[in-house]
Symmetry: C2
Subunit: 297 residues, 2 copies
């Protein structure tokens, strides 16, 4: 058994899926859920996601050897303050947040000497749905799991968290905090901003019925991520401000370049741009095939 | 029978699907394919998509009561010049191009008095695949089919083309040429430009392996349309220049607005923007459900 008692703060899609997967792979003897909504915790017990729950997380912390912080970013500070005084010397703490710089800063501020046992993590996995009802033991299989230990992070703690994720099928990558926030801004945060902007852009100049009729096809698929949770994305924006704003402006320059080529009627340049994109995406597709193949083996 | 002899110039995904659907619904007695590649036309006969084919479209035109022009935009001028002298007085001509202003201009220039029998059309349907092998009789079911007759277009010709599309399951909308090019720029052309720009943006600043690993998830799905045919999209850009360039610049302004709110840390404004997009998309989703329901009935 990798862990004896695991406390999961926030039993939603990610926390719940981790619990299910850890159970399935016998990586934890007991999993205790903690959270603000009792009905949700009761549901999680009924669904067999967690073994039991607590409304007073403090009481469980001293006896836990792993605490998984899976609450929204804006609830994290309060939670860290609450658990910090009760942490045992060897208790490992990890999180699952989509931004890392801001969270590492919070952990450093509030965990004191326990900060060395804090392993910042980000499973790049999810579905359109949220909540414990959507939890799946298979959610992380073949998905990238990014760990961003700092120079202060205990290497044993990082190893244990790495074992946990590998044990439930994840593809663990280590990088530094800044690299994470930069790469995620480009591969995830920027696409979300584009999808939100595009939907609003169209809604503004809509011809109502005709617009809806025409938007219901490919456009609807393209903008799927604009249905993501608005509060979560507000928080991601606020906690990765510099990188996201920079990427938005950089992409705007690329768009202006395309607009200029269109103005000039420069077909050769446009074709070249489009072909380059098509080829790059095809390479990503090959990588994805490889990943799916590896996952099946 | 709606039509006796139909000539389809360009037996690819769209032309082939129209042929299959017209046969299935007994809307044409005989369907003759025309095109530049004999192997493709032979294949179309073997697949039962067309009844027979010709390499010299001129010889068939005088005996056709409908000519469907389903060739790429940049091949259209040559084709119109070729068929114009042979058109009978009552032969209806229609097209399936994604831009309408440029095509209407070409038709006006080359069809002479037959321009009154030209019904500009655009079936908003397709798959990632192209070519006659991908043709499907069901391709147009519940999809918007836009007709953009001009004030010169004979109303009987428009009625016949409308009957054709309704007969094979399409949802026919009429609008003027300018409206078409403006709305399609926003709902289809702009999203393609964004997808192309985004893929190139990322490829530029890639950390190779890490980038590919992280791009293989949601990003891959989001950028699906960046795998569309580069030549086709070059031509769409060149033939709807004004609208596409305008939309790109207008969206850039919206993106700058988001970047400014991020700079300011204005969470309330960001949340509002994201919620508005989420709600609009959900309305589009309701419309789509309705469309799917109608199609099943």
């Amino acid at each position: 058994m990798l862990f004896d008692r695991v406390v999961i703060a926030g039993v939603g899609l990610i926390g719940g899926s981790m619990a299910l997967a850890m159970k399935q792979h016998s990586l934890a003897r007991e999993i205790v859920g903690a959270g603000r909504k009792v009905e949700n915790l009761q549901l999680a017990v009924e669904l067999g996601v967690i073994d039991r729950y607590t409304e007073t997380i403090e009481d469980e912390i001293s006896r836990a050897d792993l605490v998984v912080v899976a609450v929204p970013v804006d609830a994290m500070e309060r939670l860290l303050k609450r658990i910090a005084p009760r942490l045992a010397q060897n208790t490992i703490v990890t999180d699952v947040g989509s931004v890392k710089g801001a969270i590492v800063e919070l952990a450093q501020r509030h965990l004191g000497s326990h900060f060395q046992n804090f392993v910042p993590g980000h499973p790049v996995a999810g579905t359109e749905n949220s909540g414990v009802l959507a939890a799946l033991a298979e959610l992380f299989i073949a998905h990238p799991i990014i760990l961003t230990p700092t120079f202060q992070t205990d290497s044993y703690a990082t190893q244990q968290i790495s074992k946990l994720w590998k044990g439930i099928g994840g593809n663990v990558l280590e990088m530094n905090v800044e690299e994470h926030d930069r790469i995620l801004a480009a591969t995830s945060h920027l696409p979300h901003m584009l999808a939100y902007a595009l939907v609003n852009h169209l809604a503004k100049q809509s011809d109502s019925e005709v617009f809806f009729e025409l938007a219901a096809g490919g456009f609807y698929d393209f903008t799927r991520i604009a249905s993501s949770d608005a509060v979560m994305w507000r928080d991601i924006c606020l906690h990765n401000r510099h990188e996201i704003a920079k990427d938005i402006r950089s992409l705007s320059k690329d768009l202006e370049f395309i607009a200029q080529k269109i103005d000039l009627g420069d077909g050769a340049a446009l074709q070249q741009l489009f072909e380059r994109a098509k080829n790059t995406r095809s390479q990503v597709g090959d990588h994805r095939q490889q990943r799916i193949k590896t996952a099946k083996e």
